[in-house]
């Protein structure tokens, strides 16, 4: 959708473009171009790698950096200990990578690099990226659940103490709510990130159009919109953290179902 003159198109920022002239690459019929989305995934992964590598000095008295990394690992450890129990310890590497990857992706997408002409791309604002993360969580739940409890895993869909006549109805409801999980998990993260970025883009459109409108009412609109925009950026940073936390929290709850049934 091309932006008309003087109008900021809020959806343009989500366009996926091939980078570095790789748009012709394909395997079979499928285009595998290295897109801006993939580039920011690589950047997020490298930023995470540097962050964790800086904290691996294993000093007896941790410095600031090591303390930062250790507080994150301790946070994930506590999350799994309260939600899954002792069986959750083996998921710490996966959950730490998942949480930190989403957190870094969300925060990197908020960086004001547009000032120097480099536009950050929030790949968590695409369902294709968040959907894969949630399907991975769902797959782990299925694999662990069936490996550990065999067919007994289906008792997940019939809570304890259900009256016999209610079992067929409850089973269907629980099955649907179980199957909807990967969608709701991925959708939540993707929509929350997309909504925030659309809001910021709309407000920036107000600022630009207000400045173009001339001396009268324009600057008033621009200044008010700009102040609001700064506040919304603070809110978005909060949302970036909360959504990463909620994603990790819900994943750990689903893992709890797989490990301990209920």
């Amino acid at each position: 959708m091309a932006a008309e003159a003087g109008k900021v198109d809020p959806m343009h920022q989500f366009t996926i473009e091939p980078m570095f002239g790789t748009d012709g690459w394909q395997i079979g019929q499928y285009n595998i171009a290295f897109t801006n989305s993939a580039m920011w995934m690589v950047i997020a992964a490298f930023a995470l790698l540097i962050f964790v590598a800086g904290g691996l000095k294993r000093e007896l008295v941790p410095g600031r950096w090591q303390m930062a990394v250790e507080s994150f690992t301790g946070f994930i450890d506590g999350l799994l200990a309260t939600n899954v129990g002792p069986a959750g310890r083996k998921y710490i590497p996966y959950m730490f990578s998942l949480f930190m990857f989403i957190l870094f992706a969300n925060i990197l997408g908020m960086l004001p690099l547009g000032i120097i002409g480099l536009h950050p791309f929030t790949f968590t604002s695409h369902f294709s990226a968040t959907g894969v993360l949630s399907v991975m969580a769902f797959a782990i739940v299925l694999l662990v659940g069936f490996a550990k409890h065999k067919l007994h895993f289906f008792s997940l869909f019939v809570p304890h103490g259900t009256p016999l006549v209610m079992i067929p109805l409850i089973f269907v409801i629980e099955l649907v709510s179980f199957l909807v999980r990967p969608f709701s998990l991925g959708l939540r993260l993707f929509v929350a990130m997309m909504a925030g970025h659309v809001l910021l883009e709309v407000l920036s459109g107000f600022v630009i159009n207000g400045l173009n409108a001339g001396i009268g009412i324009g600057p008033v609109v621009s200044v008010l919109s700009f102040i609001l925009m700064v506040a919304i950026v603070a809110l978005e940073l909060l949302v970036a953290g909360i959504q990463a936390y909620v994603f990790a929290l819900l994943t750990s709850l689903y893992l709890n179902d797989a490990e301990n049934l209920h």
């Binding site: 309260t82 939600n83 939540r188 909360i242």
Partner: protein, 75 residues
């Protein structure tokens, strides 16, 4: 009615859902704060449940946002 106008009205009506979700999210945090001030000792242990409630209430508002976006940009 002009289909384009109907789409935009529908998207506007979907925004009511976002407002309703705002009430829900406010309710979740408000009730948590109210009871956390009564018994601060038990508050930290319930943060997981707080965010589960937040996530459940927020999802429905986000769904209404998706409906609005689909009406404006896809349908």
């Amino acid at each position: 009615m002009d289909p384009q106008a109907a789409k935009l009205i529908g998207a506007g009506l979907a925004a009511i859902g976002a407002g309703m979700a705002a009430i829900g999210v406010g309710n979740v945090f408000g009730s948590f704060l109210e009871s956390a001030l009564r018994n601060p000792g038990a508050a930290d242990g319930q943060q997981g449940r707080l965010f589960i409630g937040f996530a459940a209430a927020e999802l429905l508002g986000l769904l209404s946002f998706v409906v609005a976006m689909i009406l404006i940009f896809v349908a």
